[in-house]
Each structure stands twice: as structure tokens, then as C-alpha cells.
Amino acid sequence: MEQLKNQFQLEVSKKFRRFDFHPVQRKLYSYDLSEPPKLLKRFLGIADVVIQPESKEEVYEILKIAKKYRMPVIPRGSATSAYGGVLPYKGGIVVDFTRLNDFEVDEDKKLLISGAGVVWWDVQKELVKRGLSLRVYPTSAPSSTVGGWIGQGGYGVGSLKYGSIAENVEWVEVVDFNGIGVKEPSKFVGLEGTTGLIVSAAIKLKDYDDDRALAFNVNIEDSIKLMSKSKAHTAFFYNDKYVELLKETRSLKIDDGNILLLTFESVSNTVSDGDEEVGELLWQDRFYPFRMRKISNLICVEVVLPIQKLIDFSKKIEKLPFIVMFSKTDALILILLTVQGEVKYSTWLQTMKLIKIAEKYNGKVYSPGLWFSYKSDKLLSNFEVLRSYKREVDEYNLLNPGKIFPFGPIHRLIKLADLVVR
């Protein structure tokens, strides 16, 4: 065993320029935003090595080594998700994609051809200089990577008009055990690298236009009406409890009560009676949901449900601070839970209780990742197709094992907890 380990280390050392076997570095590449309780932490491994590939060819070399030594491979961008998707649950090679950070712009086709490690807001700044803009980007855009969000999937700023990230990816370039190739994105977006490692992608762009943000003091029913008939590209609803927190932590001069924020491309703005000053304040704040943590430890529960179920669901959570981000058909709700001291198993049970309530309203957890992989068959409509594709391309289950496709004890433990939650 020791000999095999030495052989593995020697081979990595010979083949790659940027790698690290130091135990602290390996630990630093074995977390994300989630705070698992001690009970679950016991089942989590740490990376055996961290490699930072500098080309797609190096990514392929990593897979060759992984296959030879039967090592799991865990892709990692900025690790700004909280679903365990980047955790090296069973140890293995953590592949830090941040060095694949080149991009080019096809201005005629309005496409961004981006390396997986490019940071969304960095590229947006460059696009703006060329009169172009991303159509959608995540609220963690100042640090999250192109590959990271595509791997995670989901909604972001701009999704009301332009849909989820899946609807904005033209193609992905993927590395799997068979080689490197450009693929149609549906088997890769939101799949956390379990079906292949995304090394680059083509992202749809739009012409740049100034954003105009307007705030409205309206309840959730009126928010839905106003949002539906507007031409906004982004809509956020902040409930009164969330607004209270905002005022406490950010010293924002805004009125009490619920707020709807609508943001328009200035050319398509037909609404004029909103509050521009508050709108701008909230718009500038869109990247900073964690500012609330300065007053107490908070955890976020994210659920997605059809817009028509939102009013009923919101009544069930009205005592908690929450934000809603609207897409064309769905509402992504981010609910904040205050935690006293460290995150315990009971905190997770609270989280699961909220998910269960959402499920009664046709809602679902935002992403399966590691923690909710036991729900993947219900979260992904084409789960069986994906599972059979996974088996086809990943014979030894080395591509980010345990994520999306349940594996090992963690999903069983959480599923058990799910059963006892009422």
C-alpha cells in the first residue's frame, strides 16, 4: 500500500508543475460553504493531493493517473456552494481549475468561450469594455468560476429574463476517461463533474446596457403581479424580516416592510414609479448575502418551487427572513436560519424540515450535491438517462463519487434523518 502511495506521489510529481501533498493544503481543499455537524464530518475524507492543471491536456493526464490508481477525482472552482459538491468525500485528487482562466469572445455570435477557472465578475468587466455583457451570472460572481456554476447549475442574476445557467450554455468541452471533446451541455450542467470534467464552455452574451434598479414596497402577491408584467431581467423579493436584518447589518436607509427589487436593461424599462435610490442600494448589495453573518452565525436553506405555489409557501415561513429570486417559472427561496454556537445535527434537521415543507408545495431542494444525492431521482427529470450515461463513461465511479449519484454512508444517514423529520 505504502509503495503504491509513493509510486502515485512520484508520478504526480513528474507529470505536473502545480501540485501539493502537504496535509494542511489538502485540508484547505476539502471544504466548501457547508457546515456539516460532527456526526457527518466523521464520514468525510480529505484530498490525497491537490493538482492545479494548466491545460485541458493536463486534466486528461490527471484522469489517466486516477484510473491507474483508482483514485476519485473531485473538480473544484472557488468552492462557493454549500451542497458538498466539491468535498473529497472518499479522498482522491482535488482538481483546482482556477488556472484554466483564459477566455475569448466571439463578438459576432455573442459567445464567451471561457476556461472553467475564469471568475464571472472578472470576465464581465472585460465584456463591458467590448460593449457586451453576461446574460446571467451567480450572486457569488466576484469569486465563483464559470466551471463551478455550470457544474452546480441553477439560477442567478438575469434569470427572470434569460433563464437558468443551463439555458445560457451553448456547449461544454469535457474531459473524461475517453479523452477531450466538445459536448452538448445537458448531461453536464448541474452534474458536479460526475459525468466528465468541464474544462471550457461557450456562454451566451447580450449587448451591454446599463442596469436600472427600482424598489417597490409591496407584498408577495403584488410582487408576483408586478414582476410578471414587467420586462425586468432580475427580480428579488425581500420579506419584512429580511429587510429588518438588512437595516441592522448594513445601515441601509430603507422603509420597513417587504420590498420587491426589479432590475431592467435601461432600454426595456417601462416602469417608472419605483424607488430608484433604494433600488440602487439593494442592487449594489446583490453580491453580499453573507453580510448578515456579522451579527450572528446564519445558515441558508435554498428551495425552488413553482411561482404559483410561492404565496402559500411564504405563509409557512413568514416568521423567518427570506429572499426570493425569480426565474421565468420558478422561485428560488433563500431562507436564513440563525445558529447559536456551532452547527449541530439539530440545525440540519431544521433545514430538512423546511425542505419538507417546500416539498408539500411542489418545491425541491436547490441542488443535490453530496448532501441531498438521495433525492436526485426526484430532482432530475432525466435521472435514469444520466445514470446510464455515468455508468458508460465512468466504469469505476471515480468522477466525483457520492455527488448526484448516491454512494457511501452519507446519503443514507441524511435520508434517515429525513425520515424522522416532521
Binding site: D20, V24, Q25, Y288, N297
Partner: protein, 374 residues
Amino acid sequence: MDVEVIENSNKCARCNYCRVCPIYTVEGWESASPRGKLYTIKSLVNGEIDVDARVVKELFKCTTCGSCEVICQVEIPLINLWENFRAHLNSKGYILPVHKKLREKTFREWNPYGESREKRADWFKDLKNLTSTNSDLLYFAGCTASYRTLSIARDTVELFNKTGLDFNYAGVDEYCCGSPFLRTGQRDLAQKLFLKNYKKWKEMGIRRIVTSCAGCYRTIAKDYPKIAEKLDYDFDFEVLHTVQILDEIVDEIDFEDVDVKATYHDPCHLGRHMGVYEEPRRVIEKMGIELIEMEKNRENAFCCGAGGGVKSQFKELALAIGELRVKEALNTNADYLISCCPFCKLHISQSLNNFDKNINVLDIVEVVIRTLNK
């Protein structure tokens, strides 16, 4: 260990917005990022990892520039946190070899360069007649302007003279302010240096102190009052940076007409640490110089790479950071890169060596002296 360090390291949301850190920008490893460092501290406190030479080295790779503190969503006071944790490491005997050498040199000659104390005021030899021993305003040149970038010190006293500002100077009895030691956690030595300077200033009847150096300014204005409070000393000095005086008198100065473009580098210790952003810009504009901002400016300015003990202990890393700042400056196509810190000037000038294109790197006082109407 400081309870605040523990509490604050637990607050980190791990959003990674602190990737703006110049060390992380160059090194690209999580261990070099503020987020990674906070996780390391948390893991050390929880006994999940052990301290070894590598861990200590990584924790000292920080210029204490404060860009992480500016961007931090949960507003962790990170500059203090890094300094407190370094002090903790020092107290446990973890000190990096070059930092130890600086300490030894300073105990010998009272400056971290290890230059002879007797030569500290050599730059001033032919300017002695400019001082007024009755003045309660002290010019504190600092170690870098005294031993490395002498023209800054010389031009400053010449400017004071030309504008009729009476000042006094402690000569060889000026001691390092202690900034490099506060930033690298060696608080005992910083305290000793405080005591030596303080005693001299009191003997001289000083009420106001003006310094050319951003690091000295931060230390004397922000750290000395805390040390004084700890030792139960009064600290009733008014502390200024040269640029603040310039900003006050610039309207009375007669400048030549100039047709040059300049960009301004915000020294971290003057900008993010002390909030002095507009004064230098006003002075530059009053001189009739066209100011072209670099992309990262004011509180988002990119560090030159020299501070926090990085230049001394991690030379290549410091230069790589300096080169990134130089690139930004060259992109402006300005004729001059102006700053307000001898240490930034020294380091940025050295970082220029690997470029074909050139830009004149000057301290703001040097520019003022060159543009005075003769």
C-alpha cells in the same frame, strides 16, 4: 491566544471574495488566501492540524495590505487578526529566519537595514542649517528615506524650508518606528523602539510629527497611542504625513506649467490603513499634472508587495506582486508613477527592472520640488 482572533476566524463565510489578496493573486494556492489562512487558524485552534515550518511560512505570506479587510462581507478586522496571530506565533517561538535577522540588526543599529546608526543623518549633513531647534514640529524621515531613498528626505526638508515651515529633526537619535516588527508580530521590539523615540521627542519638546513614510505614519498615528495607553504614557502628539501638510499649503505654492501625465499608487498604510486617499490626488491636480487612475485605486488599490515583512522574507513573491502593480501603472501610459511612501517607491522601482517600458517612479514631494517655479 487572543479570543478575538478565534471568534473572528470562525466568522469567515468562506465566500472567497478575498481572492483580491496580492499574495493569492500570485501564488494561487488556498493556503495563501485570506480565506485559507482563516481556515488554517481555525483548524490550529481546534487541534485539527499541527504547526510546522510550512504552515508558519504560509501564515507570514501577507503584506498586511488590508485589501481582504475592505472586501470582507462579514467585516472581519483582518489586519489586526493577522498581526495578532503573528504575535501569537512569535510568542510560541515561531519566527521566520529573515525576520529574526531584521530583529537582530535593529537591536544593533536601531534600523532593520542594519546600517550604521551613526550614518542615519548623513543625508542631512549639508542641510543642518535648515532646522530650528525651537520648533515643536518634528520631521521623522524613517529608515527607508534615511538609508535608501535619501532624495525623499532631502526634498522634504528643502520643501519645508522653501515654504517657511519651521521644523526640528532628531538626527541619529531618530529610531526605527517599529512598523516592520508590529506587522510581523514582534511587539516587544516595537515597544522598545516606541520608548526610545518617545523619550527623545519629549526631550525635544515636540508636539507635532510629520513623516514621509506611510508605514511610519500608520505606526506613529495608530499604533503608538495604543502602546502608550498600555504603558500608561500620555500620547499628545499630532501626527501627520507629508502629503497632508502639502495638501494644506498647496494653494500657496507657485508651480511651473507642466505638461505631464501621472498615475498615483496608494500606499496601503496611507490608504486602507489610514483613509488618506484624496489629499495626494488634490496635490497632483493642483500641480497641473494630468492624473490617470490605475484600474485598482483608492481602497481597491493593489499592494506594491513589499509590506508585512514579505519583501525581506519572500523576495521573489514581493517582486512578482510589484510587477503586477507596475503593469497596471504602465497600462495608463503615464509619464510618472507618484506615491507617498519611500518603501513603495523603492520596491516599485526595483519591480520595474524586468520591463522594457519605463515610468518615472517618484515620491510626491520629489515631484513638488521639481515643479516649483524657480
